[in-house]
Subunit: 107 residues, 2 copies
DNA sequence: CGGGATCCGGAACGATACTG
DNA sequence: CAGTATCGTTCCGGATCCCG
């Protein structure tokens, strides 16, 4: 049932790294969460051109990978907040390096 | 004709970063090339489970993105060597960081 | 507000067979 | 040796509508 964990045990960590940052919107979401917890609609606003389904999908994937925490508040209307876990926060050096590389070579 | 450069000008560097490292085999190839120039067949041996078509495709993509240099020697049988460009080499810090993250959190 | 359900086109990926 | 060509499949991502 857990589609994330039984991918292929012969694969090294590279494949899970890709599963975390390889999605089209993954890095944008992580990047947005570096500045602190965000509501679903905030993320939707912060990330141009993403659509609802994709945001949901990525967030679920990240939750399954232990990158984000989902916190639901039983308010009306409902409130949901997403926060990076420690594991997620520790992606910051990697993403900063990639970002620096991008600035230098892509513009 | 150059399908790589006219992707979408409104996109930021993230998308090209993904184009470079987001492929299933991209990081494996770059990683292999960190230790120096490699022939096509060497890469094929060094990277388990990759198939010819994928290796060709990724290498072409990387060449188009200025990550690797392709050098052909008119020998019989033919010899082709792939080397990281400066742009490609400068991915090392990023990939090392990702690798460290993987070791800590994935195993 | 925060999603779920469904449909769809195209890209990514894989396995072979063939070639200069 | 270093690819090309072809085919088949799976999966990703986008659009849209709906629901509590």
């Amino acid at each position: 049932m857990d589609k994330k964990n039984n991918k292929n045990e012969s694969r090294c960590a590279l494949q899970e790294i890709l599963d975390v940052i390889g999605g089209k919107w993954s890095m944008s979401i992580i990047y947005a969460l570096f500045t602190g917890k965000k509501r679903f609609s905030e993320l939707e606003r912060l990330i141009p051109n993403i659509n609802t389904r994709m945001l949901v999908k990525e967030l679920k994937n990240m939750e399954a990978n232990g990158i984000v925490t989902r916190q639901v508040f039983a308010t009306v209307p409902p409130t949901v907040e997403y926060t990076l876990t420690t594991k997620g926060e520790k992606l910051q050096p990697s993403i900063n390096e990639l970002h620096k590389w991008g600035l230098e070579f892509v513009g």
